[in-house]
Symmetry: C2
Subunit: 354 residues, 2 copies
């Protein structure tokens, strides 16, 4: 992960944590927050959840115990609740209370490793879409040779139109500015080929609009599936259908190759010795593709920052998700998007279908 952070303010930042989310809960969330605090002392946390489970984890921390407030609740959203069911019984749950603290201005961002569908539904209902934004969307980081690539939508919206994609390009570009500290991030649209005539209508339509408007990124045309990890652009825009399939295809391919490689290099005694000698090199390799460093889906386009951590991650992974929340809060992401969306809506080239 790129560790540069564009700071637009020097005031204290507060991040709300749903301590009960994820496969493990407080025993990952608390050490994750403590780990992140080491290099970011200008940070406070509001921690929502069961105090009896939070306290023991907190007692083991060095820094966090003095930089947080616990807001106790014994209600929580289960990982296997359906979003609709979760919503109905959400009142007073750690997830909902954490989101509400962003709405109330008590925190600048919320991070949860809980139920993805429930988190997205709840954040949308409580924080609501920003004025002018038609569909909030989910952004992820991908590793690339020259710093991370931001890709969105990763699955929040299966069906989108050209204008939704253009708005994603605005949301993603401002995210890239904060995360990569670049002035005009390059933007590509994921398609089945690079020729103008290729692809579905919503992709071609978005390409036409992006070629003709002024927005916070530089539009570079179509990119393909082979470009997702090569850093050819800073931001890759797609619909939630292709985005979700591409993301899971990357995961599956990486897992398959790792498994086969492991099998091969432990398959005979000579190879085993060889593997032992390559231990440090292989560890470096593993570190380079460590998914914990790319943990965190950012739900963009709402009146508040909401970050989803992977449910099965550890404290290092959870700290990566907090990092994204911190970067976007410090960069004044919400205000920047608000300004840019108004700028976009005022441009003639854009047909507003709202």
């Amino acid at each position: 992960m790129d560790s540069t952070t564009q700071t637009s303010s020097n005031t204290q930042t507060t991040i709300a944590l749903d301590a009960m989310g994820g496969d493990v809960g407080p025993d990952v969330v608390i050490p994750g927050a403590d780990r992140f605090l080491k290099d970011h002392p200008d940070l406070n946390f509001l921690i929502f959840g069961d105090e009896a489970r939070i306290k023991p984890a907190l007692d083991k921390t060095k820094l966090l115990r003095n930089k947080c407030t616990i807001i106790h609740t014994d209600k929580m959203i289960e990982n296997d609740d359906k979003p609709s069911a979760a919503l109905r019984k959400s009142k007073g749950s750690s997830m909902r209370m954490a989101i509400e603290s962003v709405l109330n201005g008590d925190a600048q961002a919320i991070v949860s490793a809980g139920n993805t569908g429930a988190l997205m539904a709840m954040a949308k209902i409580i924080l609501k879409s920003m004025v002018g934004i038609h569909r909030p969307a989910l952004a992820s980081l991908l590793p690339a040779p020259n710093g991370d690539t931001i890709m969105m939508d990763m699955g929040a919206n299966v069906l989108v139109d050209a204008e939704n994609l253009v708005q994603f390009a605005v949301l993603g570009s401002i995210f890239a500015k904060a995360h990569k500290n670049v002035d005009k991030p390059t933007v590509g649209l994921l398609n089945v080929g690079t020729e103008d005539t290729k692809g579905p209508d919503h992709i071609k339509g978005a390409s036409t609009i992006l070629s003709n408007i002024d927005f916070p990124g530089q539009y570079k045309g179509f990119v393909e599936g082979t470009d997702l990890l090569n850093g050819v652009v800073d931001v890759i825009i797609t619909d939630g259908y292709a985005g979700n399939i591409a993301l899971k295809t990357m995961e599956g391919t990486a897992k398959t190759i790792s498994r086969q490689l492991k099998k091969a290099i432990t398959s005979d005694p000579l190879a085993l010795i060889g593997t032992a000698l390559s231990f440090f090199a292989l560890r470096r390799f593993k570190k380079k593709v460590d998914p914990r460093l790319y943990n965190g889906g950012v739900f963009l386009g709402l009146n508040g920052l909401c970050i989803k951590s992977h449910g099965g991650t550890d404290d290092l992974g959870f700290a990566s998700a907090i990092h994204l929340a911190y970067q976007l809060a410090k960069a004044g992401y919400i205000d920047q998007v608000s300004t840019e969306i108004q700028n976009l809506l005022s441009q003639d080239t854009l047909v507003d279908e709202a």
Copy 2:
């Protein structure tokens, strides 16, 4: 690649080759055909192209020189011709003449490593869609732990409806029967999740139809991007938009990981020695994921078999593409599809939108 072949006839099979296709032309096509002949003596080839370039390559072969007929032409389709331009000037070209030999019944299949767009356009115009098939589609093989997986459409049709997908399921299942020698291949629909409510309408619609009809496969529900290489089903059905993006994402991910691994294991002297000791194990690993063994896109749904080889492959890769042509021809693929499509059209559950 699975090497079992379902043989429905013991008669001689003839395959037409576009000798001029691909980055190299006859010097890959001719040794590729010769290589395949070794284990398949019941095969003849019609070789279309420039005799002056074919002859020297043919003189070096042991078997092929006695099992082929050269049909000379000095016209050929260039790799960078646009499909429309290629079509206009196609008369008398090696690609077109090879396709026409299938139409005339002189060959049972055509294999070309030439311009993909031109080949698909030409095959569609000359061989035409089978009665009842609305959209021919491109199928590929993916490696899986328990034999290959067949995936389609890989990009011939960006926009499809539910019924198109159901037809792809029929085309793919009969391909799987021939290629994997299984009676009722399992079939999954690529989607963004496995719950019934998820995904775009054409995918959900196809799922409803496939759950209610009798067709040559067994429908197993939705699969995700993480399932493409794990062999959870024999056949994966998708539209050409998601299929093309998923295929290229797999390619890009595999390339990125290989490059990083190579860099890691040659990065220090100790690792280099380790890598040397693991030489045979790494070679086995490389062989397992050798893309040449999965070469060959099969254009299904036409009144004739048309197989596209990768333009940059070598003779081993070209032999893999010939293998697919041979399997499908021997299995009587065209007749099987014709029967099954009629069976499908007669079922009440299917809304025929033709």
